[in-house]
């Protein structure tokens, strides 16, 4: 116990210095103490499952993701804290780290961080619902008639595309189609481009003059 107590004050000091070092040292903690000692049995089980998840992240296999989901569901059943569940979906420090990665001098208040966290969830809801279905926005969000009409027409095309495949699987092509068609998703066009054959890409290159000859 004495050895485990030693790093804690260092972590507390590092809290004031920077957020990034927090994330790093938290990972170090998990590595040092794989099995957490807890008084409650439920807490033990939850912490062990969480540790297993974190260890398995390195493997990156499909089976691992399934196990993760099961573990998280068990955790939910054990806890049952309705109020805390509504607070945040994504970890706050993670989002803060991502924002700082862009510009280290950027400083964000706690409430702004919370707002960005919730907005990302809403954004994912929006992006995931529009490729396939007509209910374009979650019920709590207000919609605009002009955009709604456009999206409705767009969704019909996307759904027809998906129905032709007779699949119940949302794949990359559907997303890429959404991004390429909607102007509001232009900021994603560089990161979720439509897939092109190598031949066409090479032709475009030669046409642009980069390929030469």
């Amino acid at each position: 116990m004495a050895s485990s107590n030693t790093p804690k004050p260092e972590n507390k000091k590092s809290t004031k210095k920077s957020e990034i070092s927090k994330a790093e040292k938290k990972k170090t903690k998990n590595a040092e103490i794989p099995k957490t000692d807890g008084k409650t049995k439920k807490n033990k089980e939850i912490s062990q499952e969480e540790n297993k998840k974190k260890i398995k992240k390195a493997k990156l296999s499909n089976g691992t993701s399934k196990q993760r989901d099961e573990g998280s569901k068990k955790g939910v059943a054990a806890e049952g804290n309705g109020e805390e569940a509504k607070m945040n979906v994504f970890p706050m420090n993670r989002i803060r780290t991502m924002i700082k990665g862009e510009d280290p001098e950027m400083r964000v208040s706690q409430e702004a961080l919370f707002a960005i966290n919730n907005t990302v969830v809403g954004f994912l809801f929006l992006a995931s619902s529009s490729p396939l279905f007509r209910c374009l926005y979650p019920s709590s969000f207000s919609s605009f008639s002009l955009q709604e009409k456009f999206l409705e027409q767009f969704t019909q095309d996307a759904y027809a595309f998906c129905a032709q495949d007779r699949k119940k699987c949302l794949s990359y092509d559907h997303l890429a189609h959404v991004v390429s068609k909607q102007r509001r998703y232009d900021f994603l066009s560089d990161f979720v481009p439509e897939r092109v054959k190598a031949e066409d890409a090479l032709r475009e290159r030669s046409a642009a003059g980069k390929g030469g000859s």
Binding site: T15, D37, M87, N88, R107, A112, L124, S129, L170
Partner: protein
């Protein structure tokens, strides 16, 4: 460090599947690996896009810390104004719960910073005064699991 720059995959999958299962009438709809990766990248770029826009607005008003009003204006500039109303509602809840936690924690210790006060509040609820660091880890993990399921 590369992992720190990505959104957690399990939470990402949960959010997307939750939404898809609500929209579909057939039942569950699966998401391919590439599709999930595209969602993850989209979310990450959206965070950068939104925070950069909010930062620009913040600089215009000659301030140094981005506050929540800057985020609302950024949402309008980035053509996602429909997020502002529900966001304000959830922000009110956030403030109330923050107030509660501060009251609970102030009974015990007043010297610690705000973030640790919240974590202390969680650990005191569980009845574990000792092993503060470990309690912090547990609290965060349980929050993830719980929040994912309810949404």
């Amino acid at each position: 460090m590369s992992e720190a720059e990505e959104l957690p995959r399990s939470i990402m999958r949960r959010v997307v599947k939750y939404k898809l299962s609500r929209c579909s009438e057939d039942g569950e709809i699966s998401v391919s690996k590439d599709g999930l990766l595209a969602f993850s990248e989209s979310g990450r770029i959206f965070i950068h896009y939104l925070s950069a826009t909010a930062n620009d607005i913040c600089k215009e008003s000659k301030r140094q810390i981005i506050n929540v009003e800057n985020v609302f204006k950024a949402l309008e500039e980035t053509e996602f104004p429909e997020f502002v109303c529900p966001l304000k509602a959830s922000l009110e809840e956030f403030r109330k719960k923050n107030a509660r936690k501060k009251v609970v924690v102030s009974k015990g210790k007043e010297d610690e910073p705000k973030k640790k006060r919240k974590l202390e509040g969680e650990s005191s609820d569980k009845g574990e005064g000792s092993e503060k660091g470990e309690d912090n880890d547990k609290g965060e993990d349980s929050d993830k699991g719980v929040s994912g399921d309810d949404q």
